[in-house]
Symmetry: C2
Subunit: 245 residues, 2 copies
């Protein structure tokens, strides 16, 4: 059964973590909001499902995208979607302990993402960056000095202490968590190239993981395609020179 991903069409954002999993697995999916409105999909279809009380699934609509429709099921929250998709796409071991462990790591990635986003929006998501620039500078300085290393060194430690080896973060096969870590490293390189250059030597295994994932055939093909939206100044990862070291 075809998956329908609902997410904003102009940014990678949180939707990208789902896209990477679907792409790696070569799943049959539609990126709904990126289709033409004339097809019956498009952004209007997404807003319809979220806001229209007449839609049977509206009661289960999320507060915000991304969400996934699979048959009658509508499910939201990025980590929850990956938790659901993981076994179906072969991107997590099927036993409960491994699934909970992968999900725990993904939820820590979610926490990290909020902090990455809030570097440029420490006061309010509803205000422009230019209206919270001094606060953004203060928050980002702390983020680069304390929070970014804390998260990155945590994942580096998890990776190096994996009893099944350092190639993957969960067990001995690729999981959606590896794909998400790839995206985190890629995004941080875009947003804070100078800070990341200083950080790199402390996280060799994460850097190697990023390189390995980027060369996987399905991911490499996806990254070169028009389906991969370039990083830009509207997403979670933004490059403001004045915020980098």
């Amino acid at each position: 059964m075809r998956y329908e991903l609902y997410y904003w069409p102009e940014i990678q954002g949180r939707g990208e973590f789902i896209r990477l999993a679907l792409e790696e697995a070569r799943a049959d999916y539609i990126d709904v909001a990126r289709r033409a409105e004339s097809s019956g999909y498009g952004v209007a279809a997404m807003l319809h499902l979220m806001n229209d009380a007449e839609v049977p699934n509206a009661a289960f609509a999320p507060l915000v995208p991304p969400f996934l429709k699979h048959g009658k099921l509508v499910i939201a929250q990025t980590a929850n979607i990956l938790h659901y998709l993981g076994p179906k796409l072969g991107l997590v071991p099927k036993n409960e302990t491994s699934r909970l462990w992968a999900h725990q790591l993904q939820l820590t990635i979610s926490d990290f993402l909020v902090e990455i986003h809030d570097t440029h929006h420490p006061i309010a998501g509803g205000l422009y960056y230019k209206d919270q620039k001094p606060e953004a500078k203060r928050r980002t300085a702390d983020f680069i000095a304390n929070r970014m290393p804390k998260y990155l060194l945590y994942f580096e430690r998890i990776l190096t202490s994996n009893p099944k080896g350092n190639e993957y973060i969960v067990g001995d096969a690729l999981s959606y968590v590896d794909l998400s870590l790839f995206q985190i490293i890629a995004g941080l390189h875009y947003a804070f190239p100078r800070a990341m250059m200083q950080q790199e030597e402390d996280i060799p295994e994460l850097i190697a993981l990023h390189a390995r994932v980027s060369k996987r055939p399905n991911i490499a093909r996806y990254l070169k395609s028009a389906r991969r939206i370039p990083f830009n100044q509207y997403g979670i990862f933004r490059h403001y020179k004045e915020l980098d070291v």
Copy 2:
């Protein structure tokens, strides 16, 4: 098998969402860090499990508490712990669709909690409130005007559109999500009493849910006990008069 909850002993914090579930279910559990060090538990035992490479479970240690130990399993991230405990404590329906839906709601509560915390710490968790007071005022003004109503009205809408009635948020029985919503309403009343007074008339079902949960025998007994840590100025919910309306 006894549950061991690991969380900071002086605050409700994120651990409280787990405590409420364990208390409602009258589960056999130890609040490890609140025990005397002489018992072999205490904060030292928590830090040991998190930081000591010699501990077999250290590889699975979380970035931050709370975490739960159940037999050999160590599991972290509040929503993940509740996802695991839910069926075991009879606090979520057992079918996958309901579990995913409850988990989705809990993850939205997690998002809300981050925003609640960041009202008093918009720049850095590692700095004191007094060192980020102007930023906290700005962030809280936006939180009260925009974010708090957005989340509360969302949960109010979910509650009122529950096809099984308005008594519980998931289906027709108490779930851990109801307990968490109780805690959110209680905490917001403590932190922002004046803003909540203005908000209350728009969220009658949530207010009623809070009252119902507080009167459940196991919860009422817990709230009166010494096991319930009072709200204070070290947790997620803090009352700074100058931040309220």
